[in-house]
Amino acid sequence: MTRTRIVVVAVAAIATALFVAGLAGARTSSSTKAHQNQAVSGTITFDGIWTSSSGQVQFQDVINAFQKLYPKVHVHYKPVGNNLPTVLTTAVAGGHPPDMADIAQPGTIAQFAKEGKLKPITYAKSTMAKYFAPAWASLGTFSGKLYALPFKAANKSVVWYNVPAFTAAGVTPPKTFAQLLKDAQTIKSSGTPAYSIGGSDGWTLTDMFENIYLRTFGAAKYDQLSQHKIKWTDPSVTTALKTMAKIVGDTSNIYGGTSGALQYGFNDSVTNAFSSPAKAAMVFEADFVGGVITSSTKAKPKTGFNTFTWPSITPGPDASAVEIAGDLFVTFRDNPAIEAFVKYLATPQAAEIWAKQGGFGTGNHNVPASIYPDPITRATEAPILTAKSVVFDMSDNQPPAFGATTGSGEWGLFQTFLKDPTNISGIQQQLEAAAAAAYKK
């Protein structure tokens, strides 16, 4: 009897001890989650494109929230502005890159990955799988490894219009491309040119082409062209270019004519359309146009400016597909501090800090649409998650020599197209030649 009692007491004691230990363990782990992580420490250098007047403050808020959770880690953000690609290339070539950087072109990321300069972020895979649809992860995946986190996304299938100009012309936002063309003529008759084109920045032209191609042929074919599985001399490209010529060839309907379109950059194209009196009625560009309008013009939301989705061309499931561009974060080194930061950035909490301040879109499907501060922002950012199909900016996906070089490649050739929209086959051949050369490397 004594032995049994000893055994029972021993088992009970062990069980209690285990239970208590388990409890204590559970409390510790949950309190670690709520409290700060004192184990991870270090400094992270981050080169980013956002400057004090365009997002640095908001991103710093995200960093501050992260640093509250990991007080021993310090993230140093360096705003580089538009010189980022150059600075990064030099830094990488010189062997002294920052710890992390923000790169908008998957094509550039692919090149760095091929050269072995990036560290994979495989540790973030599960976090990403929790919050992002698989397409987003594949954006940052090259040669089977995950290298980039798509932190910020921009909806490029948006058209911004001058409300008084539309009212004076008696038109409402068109749903189809054919309607758009008709409305453009009506707007011209009312005395205002319909289009404000910033052709001096070649990417505004490639964005227009990409939206047209996407809406005419659908996401699958778009991706094929994006990966150069179809050539630029394909008849589908001819059709898309002919459609684009209906806009860029309507010279008297562009503010400043073709010459003006070539000289005005993106910023000018926005200020031209939203100055008072309006010099033009519409701008075809992404959600970030809103920031330019509020900082450089006096136009007010709803009464001065508003948005509509890029009109559909071919009816079907991809009629309102969304083209996005984004800021992808890559890592050049690997250590616990960096891993913690990357995993944090993939969470909805990180995205929401910026989203609620406006000027931010995300593919994180745990971020509710209600977080956006105003209706126009909601209308431009929410489709990133709700659209049936989402594709990435084609020119950003190309090798940078073709898709992201000032004055040559896609950007330069579309500027040439703007100068003479009738020479379609000529442009196609030049595009294909440039693409072939870039892909060969």
């Binding site: 004090s52 000018d268 450089s296």
Partner: protein, 295 residues
């Protein structure tokens, strides 16, 4: 020279009113022309200044001359916003370190080398001098990548003295060229007698050459200071947290948006200091730069 009757009467002081009027008449067209030219030269800069005191929305919709019809639009808000940005003060300080630091070094090293090429005799001196001024043609871009790798190895990356040293090296060919030409024009006899008196070269250099060469040295200093104050590329490449004013301005540019309300006032603030340096040293500048070319 044949003493012919002077074609142009050189009036004595205290001369007749008619002569003075004649002089004024011949001077007036020049004055008018120069006033017009000077004003025309200032127009772009004035335009930049006016742009900096207009709000961004006004800058985007109409030309800067709208201020003459709407003076109430003028505002200091752009400047205010800049000064509230502590980064600006830090950037100005960094720029000062880099500019002053490298200018001092260029002056010292350039003077030493210039003196050596001018007054010391050693074999191969002339060929070496040709080699040094030959480096005038090396473009900045050539050195970026190789130096980047080197800096990383020696820990010079992202330091103000790393950037300053880069500027020093690229300023040396011109400095040596200029100072050597000037020193060559100094009176031989002073140096001769100093040598005969037994003074060694260092003493001669410090006690004689530097004071005599002050005009040329001052003008070199102004140019070097100006050029390095306004540099962007080198600082952008070799700095990360070290940001002089040019890099700081570039870093303020919005990704998407007209940044003229930042560029214009920041450029003006950045302009003030080199301008003061120029005005202060104007005297030396005018005298010294030409040394050696007109004997």
């Amino acid at each position: 020279m044949a003493a012919a009757a002077p074609a142009i009467e050189i009036p004595a002081p205290g001369d007749a009113t008619s002569a003075r009027i004649l002089r004024a008449i011949t001077r007036t067209p020049i004055n008018i022309v120069l006033v017009a030219l000077g004003a025309a030269w200032l127009v772009p800069t004035i335009g930049l200044f006016i742009t900096s005191i207009l709000p961004a929305s006004a800058d985007a919709s109409k030309g800067w001359w709208q201020i003459f019809s709407h003076p109430s639009l003028a505002t200091w808000s752009n400047y205010n916003a800049l000064f509230h940005n502590s980064g600006l003060i830090t950037a100005l300080k960094t720029t000062a370190y880099i500019a002053v630091g490298n200018t001092l070094l260029v002056v010292i090293l350039g003077a030493l080398a210039g003196y050596a090429f001018a007054w010391l005799d050693f074999p191969g001196r002339d060929w070496l001098f040709i080699g040094v001024i030959g480096l005038l043609v090396v473009p900045l871009q050539m050195a970026l990548i190789p130096m980047f790798k080197l800096y990383d190895t020696f820990g010079l990356f992202d330091t103000w003295y790393g950037i300053a040293l880069f500027h020093t090296a690229f300023g040396l060919p011109f400095a040596v060229f200029l100072l050597r030409n000037f020193f060559v024009g100094l009176p031989k006899d002073i140096l001769e007698s100093a040598r005969i008196d037994g003074a060694n070269e260092i003493v001669i250099f410090v006690r004689l050459i530097l004071p005599l060469g002050l005009p040329a040295i001052a003008s070199l200093a102004i140019f070097q200071f100006l050029w390095t104050w306004n540099d962007l590329l080198v600082a952008l490449t070799f700095g990360q947290n070290t940001t002089p004013i040019t890099v700081w301005i570039a870093g303020q540019l919005r990704e998407f948006g007209t940044s003229i309300d930042i560029i214009a006032p920041a450029s003006f603030i950045s302009l003030v200091i080199p301008l003061c340096v120029f005005l202060a040293f104007q005297r030396y500048f005018v005298q010294g730069l030409l040394a050696g070319s007109v004997k």
